[in-house]
C-alpha cells in the first residue's frame, strides 16, 4: 500500500469524534438525505437536491412521491422481512429430487423401486425404450439391480439444454400398469411411473431453491400489495389472497401432490394460474376461507415449523413482546416426581408455557412442518374411534396413532384420551383456539390495540434509531388505529419533531 492511501483513513479518524449522535438538529441537506435513505434506501439524485435547494424546503408533494415509489415498497418489505424471517432452506421434498451421477440424472430415492436396489444407477449407455421412455431391455447386475441406460430429456427448468436422464426416471406414463396415477404420491413406488413430461414431477436442487424463494417471497408480495392498493395494515392478517409465480405454481401443481401430509395447494389445483415455470410475475389468487393472511401463508408455516414457534414469532414480531424467564430463576426442577406432559403445569416451564400453549393452539389446525389445513371434518376434536381403541387395547389405526391421544404416560393425559393432539391440555375457555385459527389471536390483540402499537413502535425504532417518547408513540398509535394506513403512519413520523425538528 502506498503511504498516501492511508490519508483517507486518517481523515476519517480525525473527523469521527465530532457531533455524531443527534440527527434531529441538522440542516435541510441532512434532512433530505435522511428522508431519502429511510424511505427509498438511496441518497437523493442531484436533480432532486437542486430542486429542494431552490425551494428551500422539502415540499410535501416530494415526500408523498417518495412514499408512493416502488423503492418505499421495497423498504417496507425489508422492514417486514425482519418480522417474518421469510427465508426457506427446508428440503421441500427430497424424494422427488433428481441429481447427476456420472453426468446422468436420476432419482436416487426411487432406485429401490425402479432398479430394484437402493443407490443403483442406470449406467452410461443409451437406453432401448418405447415412446413413453419405458425400457424395452436392461442389464441385470450381480447385486440384482438392473441398469436400463439413459435417454435425452429437455427438462422444464432448462428446456433448451437437453440432459441425459435414466430411462425409468424419464418415463412419461400417466397411469401405471397397476392403475396408479403417476402424478400422485402413491406413484412414488411404482416402477413404471417416472418424472413425466419434461421431468415435471421431479426437481433439481437449483429448481428446489427457486421454489423455496417463490414461496417465501409471497409474504413480501402481500406487504407490497397492502401498500400498492392502499389496503389497511390489518389486511396482512385477514387478507384472503396470496401471490404465486411460475416457480411456486409449478411446485403446488406438480410437486406438492407427492406429499399430501405436508403440502397442499393453497387453492384447488385446477384453479392454479397457468404460468410458465420461468414466469417471474406475481399473480394474485383467492384463498379459501380457512386461511388467515400471512400467519397461515406457506412461507410462514414452513419457516416457523412448530405451532409453538409460530406463536412465539408472532408474539415477538407483531406484539413486540418476549417470553422472559422469571427473575427468581427456574424452580422445582429437582423434583423426583414424574413431570407432567402438560407444560402449563410443569415446574420451570409454566412461566412461559402457561401462555404459549394456548396461543400455539391457534395454529392447531395447521400441520407442523407442513402447509396443510386439517379441518374439523377430517380431524374432529374428539374421535370416539380413537378413544375406543386406546381404552380397550385394540390396535389403533395409523390415523389415530398419528393424530390423537391414544397412549398415556402420565395421569394428566387421561382426560384427553381420544382427543386430537393439539387439543390436549387446553383449558375450557381456550378450547376454541384451534377453530378460531391465528386470526382469533389477531382479533384479541387488535381489541387492545397491541398490533398497531407494535407496528408504530417498530417503525419509530427504524426511523428514529432511538427510543421514542412513549407519549409520542401513543399519539402515533392512536392515529394509526384510526386510519390503519402504514404509509400515513410513516409519513407522520418523518414529519414529526423527533425525526427532524418538525422540518416540514
Amino acid at each position: 500500500m502506498r503511504p498516501w492511501m492511508l490519508w483517507p483513513m486518517a481523515l476519517l479518524l480525525l473527523g469521527a469524534g465530532g457531533t455524531w449522535v443527534d440527527a434531529s438538529s441538522q440542516d435541510l441537506h441532512g434532512y433530505v438525505r435522511a428522508l431519502s435513505l429511510d424511505i427509498r434506501g438511496v441518497v437523493p439524485t442531484e436533480a432532486e437536491l437542486e430542486t429542494i435547494e431552490a425551494a428551500g424546503e422539502v415540499d410535501e408533494s416530494i415526500l408523498d412521491a417518495w412514499l408512493s415509489s416502488p423503492e418505499f415498497e421495497a423498504t417496507v418489505i425489508a422492514q417486514h422481512r425482519d418480522r417474518f424471517w421469510n427465508e426457506l432452506e427446508v428440503n421441500l421434498l427430497n424424494k422427488r429430487r433428481v441429481f447427476k451421477r456420472d453426468n446422468i440424472w436420476f432419482n436416487n430415492n426411487r432406485s429401490r423401486y425402479t432398479r430394484l436396489q437402493p443407490q443403483s444407477h442406470c449406467g452410461d449407455f443409451a437406453a432401448d425404450v418405447d415412446e413413453l421412455n419405458r425400457p424395452n431391455s436392461w442389464i441385470t447386475n450381480e447385486d440384482g439391480s438392473i441398469a436400463e441406460g439413459h435417454v435425452m430429456v429437455a427438462p422444464y427448468w432448462d428446456p433448451d439444454t437437453p440432459i441425459e436422464v435414466c430411462a425409468f426416471d424419464a418415463q412419461l406414463v400417466e397411469v401405471s400398469a397397476a392403475g396408479v396415477d403417476c402424478a400422485t404420491e402413491e406413484a412414488h413406488e411404482e416402477q413404471d411411473c417416472g418424472c413425466g413430461p419434461g421431468l415435471q414431477w421431479c426437481m433439481a436442487n437449483t429448481v428446489e431453491g427457486a421454489m423455496e424463494v417463490a414461496i417465501s417471497t409471497d409474504l413480501n408480495e402481500r406487504v407490497r400489495h397492502m401498500l400498492a392498493t392502499g389496503a389497511g395494515y390489518g389486511s396482512l392478517f385477514d387478507g384472503d389472497t396470496m401471490f404465486l409465480n411460475g416457480q411456486s405454481t409449478h411446485f403446488f401443481r406438480y410437486i406438492a401432490p407427492f406429499e399430501t401430509d405436508d403440502y397442499e395447494s393453497p387453492l384447488p389445483i385446477e384453479s392454479l394460474p397457468d404460468m410458465d415455470f420461468f414466469d417471474e410475475s406475481w399473480v394474485e389468487v383467492m384463498l379459501e376461507e380457512h386461511h388467515d393472511g400471512v400467519l397461515t401463508a406457506p412461507g410462514w408455516l414452513l419457516r416457523h415449523q412448530t405451532n409453538r414457534g409460530r406463536a412465539n414469532r408472532f408474539y415477538s414480531a407483531f406484539l413486540c413482546s418476549e417470553f422472559v424467564p422469571p427473575e427468581t430463576g427456574f424452580t422445582g426442577l429437582g423434583s423426583t416426581v414424574v413431570p407432567s406432559p402438560n407444560l402449563q403445569l410443569r415446574e420451570g416451564c409454566l412461566g412461559c408455557h402457561a401462555r404459549l400453549e394456548p396461543w400455539a393452539a391457534y395454529w392447531a389446525r395447521w400441520g407442523e412442518a407442513s402447509t396443510t389445513f386439517r379441518s374439523a371434518e377430517e380431524f374432529p376434536a374428539f374421535s370416539a374411534e380413537c378413544e375406543t381403541c386406546a381404552s380397550t387395547g385394540l390396535e389403533c389405526s395409523d390415523f389415530c396413532e398419528d393424530n390423537y391421544i391414544v397412549e398415556t404416560g402420565h395421569a394428566d393425559e387421561l382426560p384427553y384420551v381420544g382427543w386430537y393432539g393439539p387439543y390436549a391440555f387446553l383449558a375450557e375457555d381456550k378450547s376454541e383456539h384451534p377453530d378460531l385459527g391465528p386470526l382469533g389471536w389477531v382479533a384479541k390483540a387488535e381489541e387492545t390495540g397491541l398490533i398497531g402499537q407494535c407496528a408504530v413502535q417498530q417503525a419509530a425504532d427504524w426511523l428514529l434509531n432511538a427510543d421514542a417518547n412513549p407519549a409520542q408513540i401513543d399519539d402515533w398509535t392512536a392515529s394509526f388505529q384510526v386510519d390503519d394506513d402504514y404509509r400515513a403512519m410513516v409519513k407522520r413520523i418523518v414529519m414529526s419533531s423527533p425525526y427532524w425538528g418538525g422540518a416540514l
Binding site: 438525505r33 438511496v42 419457516r303
Partner: protein, 204 residues
C-alpha cells in the same frame, strides 16, 4: 562482536547467588485521584429524537452507484457488496436474523475497498461528472476548494456553501497526495475515497 559475546556470556550466574537472596521490590510512586487528571465527558445524547445510523449494505451499494452514475463495485453481474453481504452481517433469516448496522472495522475495510474501486472508475469514466470545475488538472486553490465542495455535495449531500474545517483537511489531503504523486487524478481519487469512507457519507 567478541565484546557482545563476552557480555552475553559473562553475566552473573543465578545459581551462584547466596541462598535466600531476594531483590528489593521497586516502590511505585503514589498516584492520587487528583493526579489522574480529568477528561471532558461527552454530553449525553438527546433522548427521544432521531439518532444517526449507519447505512445498510444495500443503501451503501445503491447510493455509491447513484452518486457515481452507475459505477458498481465488483463485476457487471454481482456487486461485491452482495458477495460479501454475509461477512458484513446482513441478515439471511436463517443463521442470522438481525442485520449488523455497526460501523465495524469489517464494514470500514470493505467500504475502503469499494471506495477505491468506485472512485477510480468514476474519475476515469467517459463524460464523468466527477469534477465541478472546467479544468480538472487545475491546482489553483479556488478550483480545488470548489471541486471539494462539489464532491461533498454529490457524495455526502452537504451544501456547496457550507463552511467546515474538514474542507481544509480535504484540501490538505489533495495537496499532499499531489506533491507525492504529481497526479491530479490520484489526488482527486484519494479525496473521493476519503469522502466515501468518512462518517459524513455512511452515517445519516
Amino acid at each position: 562482536m567478541i565484546l557482545f559475546l563476552a557480555l552475553a556470556c559473562g553475566g552473573p550466574d543465578p545459581v551462584t547467588k547466596p541462598p535466600g537472596h531476594t531483590e528489593e521490590p521497586t516502590v511505585l510512586p503514589e498516584v492520587s485521584v487528583i493526579g489522574w487528571g480529568s477528561v471532558e465527558e461527552p454530553p449525553d445524547p438527546p433522548t427521544h429524537t432521531r439518532q444517526l445510523k449507519r447505512m445498510t449494505v444495500a443503501q451503501v451499494r445503491d447510493s455509491m452507484e447513484r452518486i457515481t452514475d452507475g459505477i458498481s463495485w465488483g463485476d457487471e453481474r454481482d456487486s461485491d457488496w452482495d458477495v460479501y453481504a454475509e461477512t458484513l452481517g446482513v441478515a439471511d433469516y436463517q443463521l442470522r436474523v438481525e442485520t449488523d448496522r455497526s460501523p465495524s472495522v469489517m464494514f470500514q475495510k470493505f467500504l475502503d475497498d469499494a471506495a477505491g474501486a468506485t472512485c477510480a472508475g468514476w474519475i476515469e469514466m467517459e463524460d464523468s461528472q466527477f469534477h465541478s470545475i472546467d479544468d480538472s488538472s487545475s491546482l489553483e486553490k479556488a478550483d480545488v476548494r470548489t471541486n471539494i465542495a462539489g464532491l461533498r455535495w454529490k457524495i455526502q449531500g452537504k451544501s456547496r456553501d457550507s463552511v467546515d474545517s474538514i474542507i481544509d483537511d480535504y484540501e490538505t489531503l489533495f495537496v499532499k497526495v499531489h506533491q507525492r504523486t504529481d497526479s491530479t487524478d490520484i489526488a482527486w481519487t484519494t479525496v473521493c475515497v476519503a469522502m466515501f469512507t468518512h462518517p459524513d457519507f455512511f452515517m445519516y
